[in-house]
Symmetry: C2
DNA sequence: CGGAACGTTCTGCTCTCGGGAACGATCAGG
DNA sequence: CCTGATCGTTCCCGAGAGCAGAACGTTCCG
C-alpha cells in the first residue's frame, strides 16, 4: 500500500527509525506533526514515540519531541572507532585552512558515504542539515574516489543495493556509465562531482589508503560551482595530493 | 518470558534498539555473538541487523557489525540543540582545569541523566563505556542536583517511571528517603553521590539555572572516593559555586 | 460556554515478525 | 581430498504484535 514494499526489512523498526529522522528534519516535532508527516495513525506514532523515548533516542519536552543526547554518546563512540579518525581530525583542518574551502574526510559504510570529520566554513545550520544524511556513492566525489579502488563486483553490489537515483540533472544514473567514470577517476587520480549530488555544489576527492593497503576513506574539498576554473581545480588537487600523502604517512605511524 | 514484560512499548523496536546497544557494548559483534547475547533466534537477529544496517545505524564489516557513524551526526545535532551546550563547552574545561578533576555538565532527558559535555582526565576507554549510558537520577549527584529544583510531583513521576534500582550497596532505594535527600541538597546548596552509582566513585553537582528561571542542567565534578576529605569537598564546592555563577551569567548573555 | 485541536487509551482484525529447520559456504583437521 | 563443525542466509508457518480507528479527557481558543 505504502511506497515501501521491499519486504526484506522490518516494518516496525523501519517506522521507528523514520520517526527519528523526521524529528531531526523538523527540528523537534509534536505527535500531530509527525502523524501528518508520516501518514500513519495517531496511536501508531504515539507508540513509537513512547518506545523511542524510553531508550533515550528521543526526548520529550512538553509535547514536543527532540533527538536525545544519548545518540551523541553512541555516535561519538562510532566515530572514534575508525582507525582514521584521529588523523582526520588533525589533517582536515589543515586542508581547510590551506585551501580556504570546506573540507572533510569521508568513509563508506554499507554502500553509503558518511563524513567522519568535517570543517565547514559556511553557516553551520545549513551544513548540519546536510551532514545528518548518508550520501550516495554515485553522486559524490568521495563516493567515486573510494569506489575507484574497489573491485567491479563490489561496486556493482553497492549500485544494485542503492540504485543510482537522480539527485540533480547532472547525476549519473547509469551503472555502466558510472563504471566508466570510475575508470576515468583512476587515470586522473582524483574524483569530482560537479553539481551531481546538490545543485551548485562542486567537490573534489582523493582516496586515502591505510597501512593494510586497502582504501579507508577519502579526503575532499567542497566549493560552489561558480568558483570553478581550471587553475583552481589544479591548485585544489595539488593540495589534496599533498594532504593525502601526509594522511597516509601519519596513519602508518599511528599503526606502529 | 524475558525480564521485560511491560507491554506498553513496541517489542520489535525494543529488540532493534537493544541490538544496537549490544553491538556497542561488545565493541562490534557477529550474528552468532548477538544471538547468544540476546537469546533470540538467528533469523530474528539477522532481520534486525539487516534493517539497522540499511538505515546506517549499524555498519557491516565482513561479518562483524559496528555502530554506524550516522549516529554521530544525529547525536551531534542533538547535543548542539541544547541552549547550554556552547557555554558548557567553555566552562567545563575551566572547571576541570582548576580542580584537576574530571568534570561534566549533565541534563535530564526523559527522567534520566545524560552528559552534554565532559572532560575526562582518566583513561578514555573506561569513560567511553560509562558515557554511552543513561544514568539514573537517584544515584547520581547530577540527578539529585537537578531534581532538587523540581516539584515533588514531578520527582515522583520520574521515580515511578524508572524506579530506584540498587546499583551499589550505598544507593538510595526508597522514594521517601530520596525526597528527604533532595531537601538536604536544597539546604546544603549542592548534591553528592558517594559511591551510589558506581562503587568507589564520588561526585558533587550543582544545579544551573537558565535565563528563564528554570534549572537547565548540573555541573559536576567526579573523583575517587578515597580522595575524599572535608577540606577537599569544601574546595570543590567553592569551585563549583563560582563556575555555576559564571555559567549562568554567560547563559544570560548568550540569550540576548 | 462551546468547539476545535491534541494527546491518550482501548479494542479488534490482519499481517508482520519471531521461531525453527533446512540450505550453503567456509574452514579446520584427519 | 573428504568430513564435520560453524556460521550466515533463506524459507515457511503460526501466534501474537502492531496498526488503524474510534472514543475519551484535557487544554486552549473565540
Amino acid at each position: 500500500m505504502k511506497p515501501r514494499r521491499t519486504g526484506d526489512t522490518l516494518q516496525t523498526t523501519d517506522i521507528s527509525l523514520r520517526v527519528v529522522e523526521h524529528v531531526t528534519e523538523l527540528d523537534g516535532a509534536t505527535l500531530a506533526e509527525l502523524t501528518a508527516e508520516t501518514g500513519l495513525a495517531k496511536s501508531t506514532v504515539h507508540n513509537h514515540l513512547k518506545t523511542l523515548s524510553r531508550y533515550g533516542y528521543l526526548n520529550r519536552e512538553g509535547d514536543t519531541y527532540h533527538v536525545g543526547v544519548k545518540l551523541y554518546h553512541l555516535g561519538n563512540y562510532a566515530r572514534k572507532r575508525h582507525e582514521a579518525y584521529e588523523v582526520a581530525r588533525a589533517v582536515v583542518p589543515e586542508l581547510a585552512d590551506e585551501t580556504q574551502l570546506e573540507a572533510d574526510f569521508t568513509v563508506e559504510e554499507n554502500g553509503r558515504i558518511v563524513s567522519l570529520y568535517d570543517v565547514s566554513t559556511f553557516s553551520n545550520t545549513a551544513s548540519s542539515l546536510v551532514d545528518s544524511r548518508l550520501f550516495h556513492v554515485h553522486s559524490t566525489a568521495s563516493g567515486k574516489s573510494i569506489l575507484s579502488e574497489y573491485s567491479e563486483v563490489r561496486v556493482r553490489e553497492i549500485l544494485d543495493r542503492w540504485g543510482l537515483p537522480a539527485q540533480t540533472e547532472h547525476t549519473i544514473t547509469d551503472a555502466d556509465e558510472f563504471l566508466r567514470e570510475l575508470e576515468a577517476v583512476r587515470e586522473r587520480g582524483y574524483a569530482t562531482s560537479f553539481g551531481e549530488a546538490i545543485e551548485g555544489m562542486w567537490t573534489i576527492g582523493i582516496p586515502v589508503t591505510g597501512p593494510d593497503g586497502t582504501v579507508c576513506g577519502s579526503i575532499n574539498v567542497c566549493a560552489p560551482t561558480y568558483a570553478h576554473d581550471e587553475a583552481r581545480e589544479r591548485a585544489v588537487v595539488d593540495a589534496l595530493d599533498e594532504k593525502a600523502a601526509v594522511f597516509e604517512r601519519r596513519l602508518a605511524e599511528q599503526g606502529e
